[in-house]
Symmetry: C2
């Protein structure tokens, strides 16, 4: 029988979106889940400090805060405002006690992706010193090219790695989400390079359903789709990554489920298809 090892299992609050933060923490802990990644909307009412206290008091490890980013805009005033919002998010991560903030970098449909990447770089340049000061690591999450229109001009591991190379800072790294990068021929190579430089900061898992009904909110449980999660996880391990396996599933379908039942399914599919 497989040993039930949940020591590296982390769940994103968005995965169980219907639960408030108190209930999520209680249900995660009671099942032996060891880590939590907090989405900002989940702690809006409670506040970062109080939420952090609650999570720690229950023995859960805070893996990261989701999310900052969305730097590009054709309007300089909006770019300035995006930087301000990111500085707030860094402060919130600090108040929460999260060691990391995930960045979904953004894209502006009216301009080229190259131009958007220049603006992303400028935005990171503006916030990185403050992140270092507060001890919050920034993790660039490359997004699948299907989101290149509005959500991210960083669509491959290579582009994320290039960005971290430019800054060469211990406070800037990459969040690898299997949903976004599974199709990439260069994935193993880029994970290895990124790991060699100590810049693999996070690992998100879910599955790509076949067919996918909605490109945003129809992600699958591990094993429900076409991604070889175990293989990618192996590459992460081989590259020296020792962090959590973070279950991040956006799913209108599963958000309608009884969340207790759903959490049991998450654990089973994690043990069966990710480890």
């Amino acid at each position: 029988m497989r040993v039930k090892d949940l020591s590296r299992l982390c769940v994103h609050t968005i995965t169980t979106r219907p639960l408030d933060i108190e209930t999520a923490v209680e249900k995660y802990v009671s099942r032996g889940i060891c880590g939590i990644t907090v989405w900002r909307d989940a702690i809006e009412n409670t506040g970062a400090r109080k939420a952090g206290q609650l999570i720690r008091n229950n023995g859960l490890e805070i893996v990261s805060l989701c999310r900052g980013g969305f730097f590009p805009s054709a309007d300089p005033a909006l770019r300035k405002s995006a930087v301000d919002k990111n500085l707030e998010a860094i402060q919130e991560a600090h108040d929460l006690g999260a060691p990391m903030l995930v960045l979904v970098c953004g894209a502006e449909p009216g301009q080229s992706l190259t131009e958007s990447r220049v603006q992303i770089r400028a935005g990171i340049e503006d916030i990185l010193p403050r992140a270092a000061e507060l001890g919050v690591r920034l993790a660039i999450e490359p997004l699948h090219p299907v989101y290149a229109d509005t959500r991210s001009a960083i669509n491959t591991m290579k582009q994320a790695v290039d960005m971290t190379d430019y800054f060469d800072s211990p406070w800037l790294g990459v969040a690898v989400d299997v949903y976004h990068v599974w199709w990439d021929e260069e994935l193993e190579k880029q994970i290895m390079e990124c790991g060699r430089d100590g810049r693999l900061f996070a690992f998100h898992i879910c599955d790509w359903k076949v067919p996918t009904g909605d490109i945003l909110n129809d992600r699958g449980l591990m094993g429900e789709g076409c991604i070889d999660i175990g293989k990618i996880r192996g590459w992460m391990k081989n590259s020296g990554f020792g962090g959590f396996d973070e279950v991040e599933i956006f799913s209108e379908k599963y958000w309608r489920y009884d969340q207790d039942e759903y959490l049991d399914m998450i654990i089973n599919s994690y043990l069966e298809h990710a480890l």
Copy 2:
């Protein structure tokens, strides 16, 4: 005033799906459209020879037949059957008088994309001699990574170019569809390389709507989305491509339009946003 140059404009029959082949030909010709790419379903009733005759009699140039491909399968018998179907498609292109068959190469969700590409290569190896014999060029169309689950394990220009490099045949090249490749940082470089070797066989245009409602059948008219079609067309020209600009739009929305009105919109958006 812009000169109304439609000499390089081709429309795919699927773009005006509600029209039968006779009506499509008549409406294309009456507007000064010069080329047609025929989807196989459009000539099922008429037959390839008769359809070819009809098209030529009306002075339209047949640009290509869509489509062959879908080689991968875990089952060898199904792979063999896919090869047979592709040989039929090559024969049909020949009978129609189409100088080219477009290949959507396929993918099998239960196996790795690498394995699928090996099977694609084997499939092309099996059909290329017959294509050469009948004078039908095969154009590999890389598909957007959003279709990597079932439609194509060839998701970048680089992968398509690599495949043509492997065979190094004048009968195998690449069909560039802006919808599939617009996001790719390497696009210009790959178009240049592909053009240098004389392997740019086709150019398909439409637009990526923001937001896109349905990932399959919600493509936009040129100018309706975030793709800089003119820039990509410029790269094609600079690389020596002198073929048609083929309008290939899958759209539940536009298929419901009056197709006369829609064809006028296609021409206007082509003149305004593609040239």
